[in-house]
Amino acid sequence: MSLGLFIFLLMVVVTIVAAVAVVTSRNLVNAAMWLMVALFGAAIAFVLLQATYIAVIQVLVYIGAIAVLIVYTIMLTRDPDEKHVPGVNKQWPIAAVLSLVLFLGLAYFYYTLPQTNVLAPTLDGDLNAISQLGALLVSPNAYVLPFELASILLLAALIGSIVVAWRK
């Protein structure tokens, strides 16, 4: 077994165990911590796919910002130990059916994909990938409109939070 395969299997096991722990953990803070482990596993998957930039952004955005925000909010809002509250609500059968359908659909989609033995093309250096990404984001022929729309959305959220927090 090669080292890459070993790391891949380790990542898969850790990510799945963590993802299951997120939904089964009865303590909200613990669930958030498990969520971070699962997200970190996803970052390792990106590293194994040689997408270093995406992997680092995954850690930076999801663990550094979103997960910390989640933990902080849980810590401050209420008693995170919810042993007296049932873990599921009345809608669990519908949710179970929907997840099963989604899983079966994904599995069907995966098996109908043309199976090829072509190796992934080697990338011409990571540095180029980043500058290509930057060029595509601001190029009028590519993604400049979504990019600008996303920044307007973020600006609106920023101004909205200031308005909400404004001292009357």
Binding site: L3, N27, V29, N30, M33, M36, T52, Y53, V56, I57, V59, L60, I63, G64, A65, A67, V68, V71, Y72, M75, L76, G125, D126, L127, A129, I130
Partner: protein, 402 residues
């Protein structure tokens, strides 16, 4: 002799291959050894630094500092290490045991992992990844997580207060820190640490963008969480902040992580603004580069110690004001200014020293202007003058007055 580290590396590689290991396995073993070496080096540096820091603190605060164990007390750290290993681990009632035990490890790891991408010399680089700068920022966020975990899992009010202050401070000071880091990236046109150092070959970025260097230093001092930004472990208010409940080596790990973080910030300032390993003869004699790197780092470390030993702790409103009303707007302006100036000067294509001079003057002018504007605005919280009272007042007379 010139290329000592790589000579040893190739010798070890050949040795392991001659024992019958495959090339890939030998490479892997060498990488593991290299990581271990860096980690051990970090710990050895910290042992020395703790003594230096305490001696320096003593000198600045007009006392002796450690002076019993060995000449000038240089064995004090070893005595402390032995003592800390013999201490009992206390887990408070109601603590979340798993998180409580992981937090110190994570705090330590988040600092050590940053060292993986440092270029120590022209050809001694751990992992020269193309997103080095982003990696440093991303790994740094694990430190915040460790503080949050420690504060919450301790089941202690002071620890939780320290942790919630850490979020208010560390996350908000990350913004000017990242924007200041963007400026070397912009000037070097790469996020690779080796490329950033190459771009500083004749002129350090400290001279090209002194303002970015200053802001990076201030905001990383806040990231370390030591005085004047030590609100998250303010001794006089929060016992010890987020690590109140920790004892023995678990406390030791937080303590060592803090020292190492300060040294790491010194290394980051060195890499981004002081030219990293560059220096006379460093390109031909890589071993000199290693010496330059650690010397520069040590000088920055001492400067940070000097600042933090001289200044009192800032209040929480001052801390927020400094960040949101000064550092963030000015660093955004600085980023825009550097980007435009760099582009315009690239078109004009003047001599390198003119380019550096113009950038320096622009940076200084922006600093001056922003300080003038900041001086004209009123602080959000008015200073209240309390009537002066005697230093020693008997309890009876004090009660009658109030």
């Amino acid at each position: 002799m010139a290329d000592l580290i790589n000579v040893i590396e190739s010798w070890l590689f050949n040795l392991i291959v001659s024992w019958g290991a495959s090339q890939g396995l030998a490479q892997f073993i060498l990488q593991v050894l290299g990581s271990l070496l860096v980690v051990v080096l970090c710990f050895v540096i910290v042992i020395a630094l703790i003594w230096v820091e305490r001696k320096l603190a003593g000198r600045i605060q007009d006392r002796f500092g450690p002076n019993r164990a060995g000449p000038y007390g240089i064995f004090q750290s070893f005595a402390d290490i032995i003592k800390i290993f013999t201490k009992e681990y206390v887990t408070p009632t109601g603590a979340d045991k798993g998180l409580f035990n992981i937090a110190p490890v994570l705090a330590m790891a988040s600092v050590l992992a940053i060292w993986a991408v440092f270029p120590f010399a022209i050809n001694v680089i751990g992992a020269d990844i193309s997103v080095g700068v982003l990696y440093i920022v991303a790994i740094g966020s694990f430190g915040i997580l460790a503080i949050l975990m420690a504060g919450w899992s301790s089941n202690n009010r002071f620890a939780l207060l320290g942790a919630s202050r850490s979020v208010a401070m560390l996350i908000s000071y990350e913004i000017p820190m990242v924007i200041s880091l963007l400026i070397p990236v912009l000037l070097a046109k790469s996020m690779k640490l080796s490329a950033i150092i190459d771009a500083q070959r004749p002129w350090w970025f400290l001279i090209v963008t002194p303002l970015a260097a200053l802001f990076f230093l201030i905001s990383s001092m806040a990231e370390i969480g030591k005085a004047p930004f030590d609100l998250l472990e303010a001794e006089s208010e929060l016992v010890a902040g987020y690590h109140t409940e920790y004892s023995g080596m678990k406390f030791g790990m937080f303590y060592v992580a803090e020292f190492l973080h300060q040294y790491t910030v010194g290394a980051l300032v060195t890499i981004f603004f002081l030219g990293g390993w560059t220096g006379p003869m460093a390109a031909t004699w890589p071993i000199l580069g290693v010496i330059y790197f650690f010397t520069k780092t040590f000088i920055v470390y001492l400067a940070i110690s000097w600042i933090r030993l001289s200044l009192p702790r800032i209040r929480i409103d001052e801390m927020l004001d400094l960040n949101w009303k000064f550092l963030i707007p000015v660093s955004f302006l600085n980023l825009i200014m550097v980007a435009v100036a760099d582009r315009v000067l690239m078109e004009l294509d003047p001599a390198r020293w003119i380019y550096v001079g113009v950038m320096f003057v622009l940076s200084m002018a922006l600093l001056l202007m922003s300080l003038i504007v900041a001086g004209m605005t009123k602080p959000a919280v008015e200073r209240v003058e309390f009537p002066s009272r005697a230093v020693a007042v008997s309890p009876q007379s004090d009660r009658s007055k109030s």
